[in-house]
Symmetry: C2
Subunit: 317 residues, 2 copies
């Protein structure tokens, strides 16, 4: 009921499941990570997750709700995991009902990118804004949309997939047949591959591991012009997709997070320049461009905050 109300946030990733006790914007206790791929299907994994929740509850009194963020399609209203692309057997699992009956607590499920966006909107970089677009730049490019202070989920709860939007109608063919999807240019691995190709064309010998976003950021900071130019290109491509979202939704704040965003000004400077030069006044003049406040903990914090919000608790942090 207060800003101190506790909730458990579960960040269900393709590699590990992390459950933590969250107070406001802080994770105050974390269960040992569970290796997602160690389990044949949902039944066993759900049992292990339930034990982790039980352990956390035994250490903290007054946990009011549980939120779970998942990497794939979630039917937010029914609380059903529709499909997790990279985790076997997770198809049509009524996880909300299962977890509610085990724990007796209100449970909320959502897509992981929506949890990240909700964390930034409620507690992080965009907490003073009502019209927000968040993007997380990693292996994939995910996002979340808040309009008039409400998360936009769409008809089938799939909204926010900015990584699948096209920046080139004649571009690369993506996973869903979509041509020119942003993710197919500025996903972690695509950045590496494209940079490697550019080095090669310039007669510079590099390995793929010399071209990770982290390595490219270091190279650029040391004045490597190819690396600098590649960050410029990444910023420009991201700007196109975000510009499109701006013309469509007229947000007041954009939040950029995820591992690739750690390049900092190498990414943000060209991004800002290319974005603002392609918008008119009402879209541009008061637009805040913000680095995400949370890192890896965004999913856990966001899932917990969302669960409290859905359960009717007001979080004042």
């Amino acid at each position: 009921m207060s800003e101190n109300t506790l909730a458990i946030g579960i960040d269900f990733g393709g590699t590990s499941v992390k459950a933590g006790v969250v107070r406001g914007a802080e994770i105050i206790d974390l269960a040992p990570p569970i290796a997602t791929q160690d389990f044949e299907g949902p039944d066993q994994l759900i049992q292990v997750m339930a034990r982790a929740v039980e352990d956390l509850r035994s250490r903290h009194e007054g946990i009011a709700a549980i939120g779970i963020g998942l990497p794939g399609f979630v039917d937010f209203k029914r609380g059903v995991v529709t499909n997790l692309t990279n985790v076997r057997g997770w198809i049509e699992i009524p996880l909300k009902e299962i977890f509610q009956s085990i724990t007796g607590l209100p449970v909320t499920l959502d897509n992981d990118a929506n949890c990240m966006a909700f964390a930034e909107y409620k507690l992080g970089a965009a907490k003073s804004y009502e019209h927000v677009i968040c993007v997380a730049l990693g292996t994939g490019v995910g996002g979340g949309v808040i309009a008039d202070g409400k998360m936009i989920r769409g008809a089938k709860f799939g909204a926010g997939e900015i990584g699948q939007t096209s920046i080139d109608y004649q571009g690369r063919r993506g996973h869903y047949g979509n041509l020119g999807a942003l993710e197919d240019y500025i996903g972690n691995q695509e950045i590496s591959r494209d940079a490697l190709r550019t080095y090669k064309a310039a007669g510079v010998f590099k390995d793929l591991e010399d071209c990770t976003p982290a390595a490219l950021a270091i190279a650029a900071k040391h004045g490597d012009t190819i690396a600098i130019e590649h960050w410029n290109l990444v910023g420009r491509m991201l700007a196109t997709a975000m510009m499109n979202a701006c013309w469509l939704l007229n947000p007041e704040a954009l939040v950029i997070g995820g591992g690739v965003a750690r390049a900092g000004n190498l990414l943000f400077d060209p991004f800002r320049e290319h974005l603002l030069s392609q918008l008119s006044g009402p879209f541009r003049d008061e637009l805040a461009i913000l680095p995400a406040a949370f890192g890896h903990e965004a999913g856990t914090i966001g899932a917990a905050a969302l669960a409290l919000d859905e359960a009717g608790f007001v979080n004042l942090t």
Copy 2:
């Protein structure tokens, strides 16, 4: 209070201002059009508009509200016309206040594309849907977004500008510096110019007037392969921008209107094919693709419906 509540809708265009009495989805009386450009500035034109409203009210009892749709930026909340690009002197005009004090009725202003979208959502093609994207294809390409049954206007009421979104990050430079804006490829005049260029390249002699969307539609129906191919290209480009809106907002219905949409299947067939082949299941499987129900009357009907809605009347038609 009933489905018979009357409102006046005013479709304020760059060429003419049309005021009509609207009952449900029907214009039951229309004042003579006023030539927008005949007036030096807002003061005179507002007086003439007020007289037209007075005339309509003298013929119809029980008019409950007035809605005005305008071609440019409108501060929806304050009821101020921020800027009309193509009409002199319309900068920061508190039109809602002026009209309310003249008429004593509740007045609502909005962007014309939002009025069109609201008409289609409340009374037209998309009236059974809650998540809708409307686009109007004409000289410009405008649009409107409805999510969870609410018009999305954004921080500065500019949302819905799908014509300014990019389909090519290296494309043509648009009016606002935006590269590859949809409008710069499938606006009325751009369609003509591009088709003319294609004919020329193929050694076919044509005038610009042989290449209007209407003329191209007739040519295509007679089997002209260049015209058919050009409609295919227009459909594909429109599909890219709408696909992006789908990934971002996961709507359940798309409404396509405006003069260019009169090409019918020549446009809708390639549009549908290119759109659906670039979306995944939750975005694609139940997506309705609908021609607009209203034509030129959409602005008037939508403005009236919006005014009733804002004034708290429930329209049941």
